[in-house]
């Protein structure tokens, strides 16, 4: 059987999700045995000029050049996978959209801000169609492998659409609200095995908001534990600001 041609591309991001792949250790060689990696700039000097069976996209779309580049990659790719929060939901790059764009650029670049073209941060699917999503900041390797398996077999992968709380309860963590601090778990998509709460921190919402968040329930929880609403809304804007984008923005 011909091995599928797989390429990895990075846009605006920290490149931590591709590092997660290197962190797999020797099992990586098994993975590499079943695919043919044809482009991966950070670790390879080789280039490929034909079509890709699978393209992995890391990072958000944040400038006009990136829009053109992702469109070209989409045209050459049979299957396109957005991996990592920056790609799937805009992630921390979306915080830029909390500010008026030119003001943010002037703040960082001063009067030369026009030298560096920038647009509102978008997730990949807000620019081109995406076939599979691997959420998380960073991605959770067991999920990445599950998605890749599904993609290579041509079957769908369904991102869990229930709250992180479900996994957190199964892991028998004490609820962060019981401990007196606000947590994004109740409205965030599961699939990470409640990674952060298992380690004593709160959920920051990096996997995106469930499609039908229980807003009333969340309000009740906040009231019960006396956690201010703006604190939680502000946290939501850390990873999930891009969901507010309209098509014409």
């Amino acid at each position: 059987m011909r091995k599928p041609k797989v390429a990895f591309f990075d846009f605006a991001c920290c490149e931590g999700c591709q590092l997660q792949i290197a962190n797999m250790g020797e099992p990586l060689l098994d993975l590499l045995g079943s695919i043919d990696v044809v482009e991966f700039r950070e670790v390879m000097s080789e280039k490929w000029d034909k079509d890709y069976d699978v393209a992995f996209i890391e990072g958000s779309i944040t400038d006009p050049h990136a829009v053109e580049r992702i469109k070209k990659i989409r045209q050459r790719s049979k299957v396109l996978i957005a991996y990592g929060s920056c790609a799937t939901i805009g992630g921390v790059n979306g915080m830029k959209n909390n500010f008026e764009l030119d003001e943010a650029r002037k703040y960082v670049y001063g009067q030369q801000y026009t030298f560096f073209p920038s647009i509102k941060t978008r997730a990949v699917h807000q620019v081109v169609p995406v076939d599979y999503f691997v959420n998380g900041c960073p991605v959770y390797i067991p999920e990445l492998v599950a998605v890749l398996k599904a993609a290579l077999q041509g079957i769908p992968y369904y991102v869990p659409d229930y709250a992180v709380c479900v996994e957190c309860k199964l892991n028998e963590n004490v609820c962060m609200y019981e401990r007196g601090v606000g947590c994004m778990g109740p409205v965030t998509r599961a699939g990470c095995n409640s990674w952060c709460i298992n380690n004593g921190n709160i959920c920051y919402g990096c996997r995106g908001i469930v499609s039908n968040p229980n807003e009333t329930g969340a309000k009740d929880v906040l009231e019960k534990y006396n956690i201010p609403m703006d604190l939680v809304l502000n946290k939501m804007n850390m990873y999930n600001k891009c969901r507010e984008l309209k098509d014409n923005e």
Binding site: E15, N23, M44, S45, F99, A104, V108, V181
Partner: protein
């Protein structure tokens, strides 16, 4: 005299972190231009930090870079705690030193094996090595995995650590965790010895240019990584709050990342700088490795930065083992486990202030500087990344190197330049995420 014309334009340099170009222009044997261009697209992190709680700064700034996320975490926490006037406990400091050892080990090994080794073995990436040098690749991945696994135990994960926050750790390692980390690190020793053996056999390009080396320095006997004053091989010594007097950032037209200089035209930071500044304080086994590889201070061959990284790997591995052994005998105080969130419960008293973090991360000194208001909200942020500090030095190296190579083919010159840039282990996404920092409203 060689009257050649050479035009080299390496777009999107590979096997480095982030996006950079090398541009060389030689006319009739005379070097007109020799630049390292930084073309990474900006992410405006400083702008995004404004108005957020200082207790969220670590979470956000660790996302500047996946490779050095533990380093950013430690510099961010140090800046935040300095601004808040919070002094971490001795136990916390020791655990942070352990985390930094893991970070340096992990990053250096990635660089040595996956990014540099293909050049030394004459191939384009580590992928062909799977067939030709299977044992080496497996060893690399095994060591990388160990670093990752010990980080998982200590802070939840290596990429964007979870439990290291302002104030301390949200989860402290249990006895079984200490045992597991110790077993893994001790198990890494044979692979580390094999790495030193491998490095003894490879040819490092010969090239020298005397430069100023900058790093953390201290008066005690510890190889300074997490804390210290700022110092240089030209005799500079300053407190970390005066870091701007060390970096002296300036703008150049061909790069969107700022350049720096101190006592001369340029300076270098990173493993080679630390090695040159604090060689005496390295672990004896690290000194033995240095002797075996053939590197001694003051080494002025920038290609040897990779060798200095390997020496530091030995040091960090041995010192990490020592730290864990100490914890096993002294025990860990679990009452120090903290829960902070965005400080809803006022676990840490908040006041307005300014603070600086200066930490030796794998590629050199990383500075974070924060100013917060009396509610603990970020008013200003500034970060100076090791790669920004090195870019100017790389260019000065290239300008000396190219004329020495004029008898070689374009391909050989290109490879020599690519290898030079890679030797510095640039982290271009980091450098550009903070490029051209200017506070217009200050």
């Amino acid at each position: 005299m060689n009257k050649r014309n050479i035009k080299i334009n390496v777009e999107y340099l590979t096997r480095v972190e982030g996006h950079g170009n090398i541009v060389v222009d030689v006319k009739e044997g005379k070097l007109n231009m020799c630049n390292l261009e930084i073309v990474e697209s900006p992410r405006l992190f400083e702008a995004m930090l404004r108005g957020r709680s200082v207790f969220e700064a670590q979470h956000i700034t660790s996302r500047i870079c996946g490779i050095c996320s533990c380093g950013h975490t430690l510099a961010s926490i140090q800046a935040a705690e300095d601004a808040l006037g919070f002094a971490p406990s001795a136990q916390t400091i020791k655990l942070r030193k352990l985390l930094l050892h893991y970070e340096i080990l992990d990053s250096h090994l990635l660089h040595i094996y996956l990014l540099v080794a293909p050049d030394l073995l004459g191939v384009k990436s580590f992928v062909p090595l799977i067939d030709t040098h299977n044992k080496v690749v497996r060893r690399a991945l095994r060591m990388k995995k160990t670093c990752n696994d010990v980080c998982d135990i200590l802070v939840g994960r290596h990429v964007h650590p979870i439990s290291a926050i302002v104030g301390g750790f949200t989860k402290l390692p249990r006895v079984k965790d200490l045992d597991a980390m110790l077993a893994m690190l001790e198990g890494m020793r044979p692979d580390m010895e094999a790495s030193v053996e491998l490095f003894k056999a490879v040819n490092i390009p010969e090239f020298e240019r005397d430069s100023e080396y900058v790093g953390l320095v201290s008066d005690d006997n510890e190889y300074p990584l997490l804390m210290g004053d700022l110092g240089s091989t030209d005799g500079v010594r300053m407190k970390k709050k005066d870091y701007r007097k060390v970096t002296n950032e300036f703008v150049v037209p061909h790069s969107s990342a700022k350049h720096t200089k101190l006592s001369r035209d340029s300076f270098a930071v990173g493993a080679l700088a630390r090695f040159n500044l604090s060689y005496d304080k390295l672990h004896p086994k690290a000194k033995a490795a240095a002797e075996a590889i053939g590197i001694k201070p003051k080494c002025i061959n920038p290609y040897m930065n990779t060798a200095a990284q390997l020496v530091e790997c030995v040091h960090c591995l041995e010192d990490a083992i020592q730290i864990i052994t100490d914890f096993k005998s002294e025990g860990i105080n679990y009452d120090e486990e903290i829960l902070v969130g965005v400080n809803e419960k006022n676990v840490i008293p908040v006041k307005a202030g300014k603070g600086v973090g200066a930490v030796e991360v794998p590629r050199g000194i990383l500075y974070h500087e924060y100013e917060i208001d009396d509610e603990g909200k970020m008013v200003h942020a500034n970060c100076v990344i090791p790669t920004n500090q090195n870019t100017n030095n790389v260019e000065h190296d290239m300008r000396k190197l190219v004329p020495e190579l004029l008898s070689k083919s374009d391909e050989e010159i290109t490879l020599a330049l690519e290898m030079l840039v890679r030797a510095y282990d640039p982290c271009i996404s980091c450098s550009a995420h903070f490029l051209d920092v200017r506070f217009v409203n200050r």
